[in-house]
Symmetry: C2
């Protein structure tokens, strides 16, 4: 495997008898592949974060279902174990709904993967157009190619802006407790040659106060019909801080992340993960996501374009069937 | 050494030929003592965070100077190496100014230590009186006995509130990059029997939004004449978040932390520490402190009482000669 390969097939792919993942738990120290030979093994890879990021786990679930189909597994059981692997991202259920109705699950799963990457390229172009020259952006968690099956949503926007000469620097929130920023986003930015610095999550505010941050760009795990957005824990914190400092927060995510069946953020289930991810020694609380109210989001960018408030109207038109 | 001992002499003490520290870098895994046999070794203990917290490093510097005096070291050189060990906390220079003018440096250094602990008890009583019954507090970094030479400032306030039956729960920001909250504050709260949960720093905002936090209580490394307060990186972030959610932020610190010679936060030097504390693999930025503007602070509590805005007036009366 070529080091620093951020191409879609390097991140995840379906082979005749297995689904292969670049194991995100091992990055950046080691670039190793994880092979899953049943839907249950794919569900386990999703649950244990070998693959993570809302669009990527949708693709992974579709591949897992296609693998189950090819192997002659009980498809109702396969669908259930995949659907229950993680609760917050809506893409997972969306991808399973598509692939289970398909005549050729393998081809349909691969099309979902291709489509997600193509959507990333389109949303990245829309998002980059929002940025001024010499932008110094701040991002949180990993909304890169690793999270979307290739190219990336928020990181894709930064990649497009970099290629257009609009981007000066990226501050990368390390993103505790699992350090997706420090491990994954920094790894991608290095591979892409984009100047960056990792910071403790709690340092973002002082950089904003010092005038060193022009915008915040993040992905999303689920966007409610009113624009309220669930994303990695700490995104809401950044949204409040950005508003206080007059800095726009842009959410960049594929339309598959929008859940028109969820009216507002109050209805989004928030995954509580193992306290041991935060502390193995003392009691701990470990919410994996938080909800950013729509009124703190300057724009939501999908492959369909730039959506502004009121989101109930602008998002309804963005969702493709 | 008795485990979980948070008494002043267990945290640091002067012996005839050495200064002994409970090595804070090793907590909570191991409770081991570090012995320093020269001013330079004490300065090294301060620089490498074996002892940290503004009041504690003031006491440590005083003990280091007294040790140098007892050993017949070059006192000008001893003072210089101690004074330059860390830049942000004002207590360090303050304690050195006191001890170098003393006839008996050892006795004076021990008096500084006793006085700081006694001040903590007094400020804790003042601060606890601000809290309503069933308070759920959030604290950042470690402003406990480890940071003050005994009892603690912010943690002292929580300890007093707990003993008065006013405190229900403490959320402990883990405090990246060095995890003083997750390692030290949680260790102290466990020793004191106070219910607590460690959280990722970026989870504070969502707990505030959920109505689970009644107040934020922190220490301070330096308080300017106008009330602007330097404290561990992330404190300013909490201050903005607390204001957004209508939650008071209380700063609890001894008057030795107030620097009337510094007009505002703009003049406080902010220590930039090694990027490797944040990331050993990628470029990183690592400011150790940030500055919270006075207008985001509900009250500053010292041993003299509760100080409210306008701080230029209320703090001037708090500083003892």
């Amino acid at each position: 495997m070529e080091r620093g390969n951020v191409e879609p097939e390097a991140i995840l792919r379906l082979e005749p008898d297995r689904v292969v993942f670049l194991d995100q738990r091992r990055l950046p120290e080691a670039e190793v592949e994880l092979e899953c030979r049943s839907a249950a093994e794919v569900a386990d890879a999703i649950r244990t974060l070998a693959v993570r990021g809302a669009p990527a786990i949708g693709i992974a679930a579709a591949y897992g279902y296609a693998l189950a189909s090819a192997r002659g597994e009980d498809l109702a059981a396969a669908e259930r174990v995949l659907r229950e692997s993680r609760p917050t991202a809506v893409n997972l259920g969306w991808a399973l709904d598509v692939v289970r109705r398909a005549d050729d699950p393998a081809e349909t799963a691969r099309r979902i993967h291709r489509d997600e990457v193509e959507r990333c390229r389109r949303m990245a172009a829309h998002a980059a157009a929002l940025l001024a020259p010499e932008t110094r952006a701040l991002t949180h968690c990993n909304a890169g190619g690793l999270a979307t099956g290739g190219y990336g949503s928020a990181v894709g926007a930064l990649r497009a802006a970099w290629e257009e000469g609009l981007l000066d620097h990226v501050f990368v929130d390390e993103t505790r407790p699992l350090l997706q920023g420090a491990r994954l986003t920094a790894w991608e930015l290095e591979a892409l040659g984009i100047p960056h610095e990792v910071i403790a999550d709690s340092a973002a505010a002082s950089l904003m106060a010092a005038g060193e941050v022009d915008c915040v760009v993040t992905g999303a795990d689920r966007i409610a019909a009113n624009g309220d957005t669930a994303n990695k824990i700490g995104t809401y914190s950044l949204a409040v801080l950005a508003e206080h400092h007059g800095i726009p927060l842009y959410v960049v995510a594929p339309s598959s992340t929008i859940d028109l069946g969820t009216g507002s953020g109050d209805e989004i289930p928030i995954e509580q993960r193992e306290p041991s991810e935060v502390s193995t020694r003392f009691p701990a609380r470990n919410p994996a996501f938080d909800v950013t109210p729509a009124d703190l989001i300057a724009a939501i960018v999908t492959e369909e374009g730039v959506h502004r408030a009121p989101y109930a109207e602008s998002l309804a038109g963005a969702v493709v069937a």
